[in-house]
Amino acid sequence: MGRDSALTMARVTARNLWKTYDDHVVLENVNLDVADHEFVTIVGASGCGKTTFLKMLLGIETPSKGELLIDGKPIVPEPNADRGIVFQRYSLFPHLTVLENVLLGLEFERSRLLGRLFGASRRNAIANASKLLESIGLASSRDKYPAQLSGGMQQRLSIAQSVIRRPKILLLDEPFGALDPGITLDLHKLILELWAANEMSIFMITHDIKESFQLGTRLVVFDKVRHDPQEPDRYGARITYDLKLKAHAERAAA
């Protein structure tokens, strides 16, 4: 991976960030400074702009006011390989096998014209992808289609698919929201392993407070501080709590 050297930094800064749709204020005055290789968990009531914030990080929404910077530069207003995403659903390609789903990122990167690798470069990419599949326990399903996998396996695959491009930032939009609690624990382990093994920051939206404490090195809460009962859209949400959590290693030792 030739991009490794460029990946050493991924500092995310929000300065006086606002998002409004006409008269509807979603986010007001959000300030956040996230150093490289943090695991930020984001919680808050529904409709509090968590997803809007994530969409701005992803580049599919633009700030109305203020700045959102990665390494001091304004965020590219279009999704690209710097930022990976795992949605709650629909982020796998149903027409590709498990192996091909993981391979796809490498094929996009290395074959601009056809998006498809052949011969030695394909074997090389398959070796890469297989190693990753092995490490997440999907090696035996490599020739299945996503529809043949369980929900937990699908999310596992979706995470692996994003990680193979080694994004600076991995965005998780309630990735475990639709899964059984037992399966979620396995996935927690997986995401922590991948986070430790890769130079990336993670931003994860969750509804599960316990999960947010367990996984994060940093916990951010979005909430509305001002209310106008006559005009509920008048004020937006801001960051009300921004907690530094102990590193996982320290917690494990304690």
Partner: protein
């Protein structure tokens, strides 16, 4: 097997009715008995025509299949390009969608005279008629399907580094193939309709031509087997497309 029952009953009723008519008038034209049909079929499908030396049924079948096959291939190609482009790229959709909608509302048979005037009475006009009749439907169907792909998927592909071109090539097109085949299956009926209409008006061979040729002699003994044969051909094409879909897109069978 239960599905065969209505066919058997229909056949049975036909045999009885034709025999009743034959009993009262041995020259009956309307419901020829199976033996008369068999004799005619032999003349058309096995024996060479005394005038041209051709075996008429095969001559007609080949001409019609060539026309409809070529027309469907052209329609599929045009439909795929424009369907995907209008479905995926907003700028192209905004530019072309109203035009395609308007074109699809033109009754194709109404412009058949224009085609004959402009293109002459040859093969081009007939194939063009089928293409004009079928393509807008395919385009609109594929555009809808391409537009229905979950937005999450497209964003995911972008975060994996895909350009628009790569996105179309590796994410959109492969998922459109099965829909294209479904679309072709659904338009088979109208494709045959346009084919027979064009052949009936200006042709020298073809299944539709033959039916309309012998109509003037009330030759039901030719028309009826031809209609059954056309139905069988359409059925076989539909079945073949279904088979191709299952072979080429196994994932689409699994995902449903």
């Amino acid at each position: 097997m239960l599905g065969a029952l209505p066919f058997v009953i229909l056949l049975f009723v036909y045999v009885i009715a034709s025999n009743l008519r034959f009993a009262s008038n041995t020259n009956d034209k309307l419901l020829p008995t199976p033996s008369v049909i068999g004799q005619t079929l032999k003349e058309y499908a096995v024996e060479e025509d005394t005038r041209s030396g051709d075996i008429l049924l095969w001559l007609d079948t080949r001409a019609s299949l060539e026309r409809i096959g070529l027309a469907l291939a052209i329609s599929a190609a045009i439909g795929l390009v424009f369907g995907v482009a209008t479905g995926v790229i907003p700028l192209i959709r905004a530019t072309l969608a109203p035009m395609i909608t308007a074109l699809s509302m033109i009754p194709p048979l109404a412009i058949l005279p224009i085609l004959f005037i402009v293109m002459g009475l040859g093969e081009v006009a007939k194939i063009t008629l089928i293409v004009i009749g079928v393509t807008p439907v395919i385009i609109r169907d594929l555009a809808l399907r391409a537009g229905e792909l979950p937005r999450e998927q497209l964003i995911k592909a972008q975060t994996l580094g895909a350009s628009t071109w790569q996105l179309i090539l590796r994410v959109v097109l492969p998922q459109i193939w099965p829909r294209l085949i479904d679309s072709l299956r659904l338009t088979l009926g109208s494709a045959w309709l346009f084919l027979i209409a064009a052949e009936a008006i200006a042709s020298t061979e073809g299944l539709g031509y033959r039916i309309f040729l012998v109509r003037r002699y009330l030759a039901m003994d030719v028309i009826l087997p031809y209609v059954v044969w056309i139905t069988a051909l359409a059925f076989a094409m539909d079945w073949a497309l279904k088979w191709i879909r299952a072979q080429a897109c196994p994932w689409a069978e699994i995902a449903r």
